[in-house]
């Protein structure tokens, strides 16, 4: 049993963080140049030859930076192609397509690929629009490997990792603020009514992190527990991210409720993650069925 990242993986995280801090809205093409697309695809199919665990580090950092492009959706489709291509991809789940207006093609549940044409809807998280495919002119079956279920599991595991990045950032913002802000002659972080909710966020974020990495490892190893691990991670990580943002907004007081503060963007992303592919309670139905039926 070894539950830690390698020095190479830690280095990948450092690079990802410093790049995304400086370029949170970089075009997908720049991420491709960095070698971030197709990380877990074997080299002979044009990929990076690494594992889904490595890729998960990037998803987590993208969540932390609130990266706005169709990185996750493209990355989870590429392993299903016969060869890594240069298109931007999205995935249709429950009739909804993230980033429909920003991608070239969309993978549907029957494993057909269609052009990204349709109506884009306004979303609470403006950086992650959802669309509906209207009419399909030309579709083709993907002559690749794997099932749609494998794509869906990668996507949900990736969302869980993004949620961990969101929760961690919301926690750090809260800790920084209450360490500076003074009321009644004291830094407000000294009050336990303020510090204890942040301690809870810390505990939950570490638990969420463990589940997200476990799910990623299961995906990478094609472990038989993958569907349950992914459902567990998606539900816990999304709820953790939402709660982390809510507590952080609360300890910020009025400023945390304003449009100009960054927190509402994290909060909206957290809720987007929770909803897409099914809320936490929906994911727990998968777990309950595995345990009780």
């Amino acid at each position: 049993m070894e539950f830690a990242f390698t020095p190479e993986q830690e280095e990948l995280r450092r690079q990802a963080r410093s790049f995304l801090d400086a370029n949170p809205d970089a075009p997908l093409a720049e991420l491709r140049e960095l070698g971030w697309l197709g990380v877990s695809v074997p080299e002979e199919r044009g990929g990076g030859g690494l594992s889904f665990v490595d890729e998960t580090i990037l998803f987590e950092e993208a969540g932390r930076a609130l990266y706005s492009g169709p990185f996750l959706t493209t990355a989870v489709v590429l392993p299903a192609l016969s060869e890594v291509d240069e298109q931007a991809w999205s995935v249709e789940l429950d009739g909804l397509v993230p980033h429909l207006n920003q991608v070239d093609r969309v993978l549907r549940e029957d494993m057909t690929a269609v052009p990204a044409e349709g109506e884009t809807l306004a979303t609470v998280d403006e950086t992650r629009p959802l669309g509906r495919i209207e009419q399909v002119a030309d579709s083709n079956y993907l002559e690749g490997s794997g099932s749609f279920e494998a794509v869906r599991l990668r996507l949900l595991a990736g969302l869980a990792a993004e949620a961990v990045g969101v929760a961690q950032k919301a926690l750090e913002l809260g800790v920084a603020y209450v360490s500076e802000r003074e009321q009644f002659g004291k830094k407000i972080g000294a009050y336990q009514a303020v510090s204890h909710p942040l301690a809870d966020t810390y505990v939950e974020t570490e638990l969420a992190r463990s589940l997200a990495y476990w799910a990623a490892w299961c995906v990478a190893e094609e472990d038989e527990r993958t569907p349950v691990a992914v459902a567990a991670a998606k539900s816990f990580c999304a709820e953790t991210a939402v709660a982390a943002c809510e507590r952080s907004i609360q300890v910020h007081g009025g400023i945390g409720f304003t449009w100009e503060h960054v927190l509402h963007r994290y909060y909206k992303r957290a809720q987007w993650i929770d909803a897409f592919g099914g809320h936490a309670a929906k994911q727990r139905e998968v777990v309950a069925a595995a345990l009780l039926d």
Binding site: M1, V175, S179, S195, A199, S210, W217, A232
Partner: protein
């Protein structure tokens, strides 16, 4: 990252499972706590499972922490009784190894491993609970020995213990962390009196200990006279070391029973959701322990992520036991077949108080892990 047992860990686990199957009889499992516990503890020692992580030079197995984690998991899975020497093996022994004299090591370590000596902990007092530095039990130096007077409380095993790790105030004018002395006290010495404390469950796991003019030889002091705080911190560090694994393994067996109950009795959609939630939380805390363990094995210090394990476990165990009563329905208040869940539910209220209250644990995380300003 590899979340499977290494071949070496798998071999240790397999060997341990076989050993448990051969040695853990129903008599031991269901026997009275003390006699069955002594029998079981002796067997564990003879098989080399006592003091797994202790250095070989002190009679331990010198095994990596991963073996201790596997040991705790398998013991909980088999529902084996607790080792009677948990305080000796997990707290007194490691403290003596770290700070004790050669004579103390000679005298006690082997007997701790064999459970010939059972140990208890004399830290908390009626007015020194979460605030250990408020200790008032006095140790007065007199002709080559100390005379101890005072009262300790919440002491598990004290009613059967032979020895006690005791924190005393040896400098009468001192305050808080200064002037404390850590000593090993013979529980059979004149002036030591133990009174069991009956809990809300009706049973008495804990005790009060009264010390009245108890003579303790100076050579029983661990560390420096007046340097007891640092020694006590070593003890508490060891208490928390692989504690997470023991707690998580216990929760796993609890949730397994809960699932069996739900399958037998049926569960509403709301209850199914709650059960799934607890199972997910269990996986989360298990894998967090593994992350912390990996850090411990690489650096010698457990990772900070493990600091939430006890906090999470205690609240989860309270929810799980209450959920079980809910599954039992209106009959939940009838005590049948030993009243397992009724007892467990009442006992779980102690979980957020013992070994660091949840409030203290949140303070520790806020101040030491998150670096927030101190609250006092």
């Amino acid at each position: 990252m590899d979340l499977r047992d290494t071949p070496e860990e798998a071999a240790f686990r397999a060997e341990l499972r076989t050993w448990i199957e051969t040695n853990l009889s129903d008599e031991i499992r269901r026997g009275r706590f003390e006699e069955a516990g002594r029998d079981w503890s002796r067997k564990l020692h003879e098989a080399g499972y006592a003091g797994l992580t202790w250095p070989k030079e002190y009679g331990g197995a010198g095994a990596p922490y991963s073996h201790q984690a596997i040991f705790l998991e398998e013991m909980a899975r088999a529902e084996a009784p607790p080792h009677l020497g948990v305080i000796g093996l997990g707290m007194a022994g490691p403290t003596i190894i770290a700070h004790g004299t050669d004579a103390q090591k000679q005298k006690h370590l082997e007997k701790i491993l064999s459970t010939e000596e059972i140990w208890c902990q004399g830290f908390s007092e009626p007015d020194a609970g979460s605030d250990l530095s408020a200790v008032r039990t006095t140790a007065r130096s007199e002709n080559g020995h100390f005379v101890v007077d005072g009262q300790k409380v919440w002491s598990s095993f004290a009613h059967i213990a032979d020895w006690c790790i005791l924190v005393t105030r040896s400098d009468p004018g001192s305050e808080r962390h200064a002037g404390l002395t850590y000593m090993l006290v013979d529980m059979h010495a004149p002036g030591v009196e133990v009174r069991p404390l009956r809990q809300i469950t009706g049973e008495a796991e804990f005790n009060e200990i009264f010390f009245t003019g108890v003579e303790v030889p100076t050579e029983n002091v661990v560390g420096e006279v007046g340097g007891g705080w640092q020694v006590a911190m070593t003890t508490l560090l060891h208490e928390r070391g692989t504690l997470g694994f023991a707690l998580t393994a216990g929760l796993e067996s609890q949730i397994r029973k809960l699932i069996a109950l739900a399958r037998k009795r049926g569960a509403t959609p709301v209850q199914r959701d709650a059960i799934a939630r607890e199972w997910i939380g269990l996986q989360a805390v298990r894998y967090t322990n593994y992350r912390s363990l990996t850090t411990l094995m690489k650096t010698g210090i457990p990772g900070p992520e493990g600091s939430g394990a006890k906090l999470w476990w205690s609240e989860a165990n309270q929810r799980v036991t209450k959920l079980a009563l809910e599954l039992l329905g209106p009959e939940a208040q009838i005590v049948e077949d030993g009243g397992y869940w009724q007892h467990q539910q009442l006992r779980s209220r102690g979980n957020t108080i013992e070994a660091g209250t949840s409030e203290i644990l949140r303070n520790i995380i806020a101040e030491r892990v998150l670096g927030l300003p101190r609250s006092r």
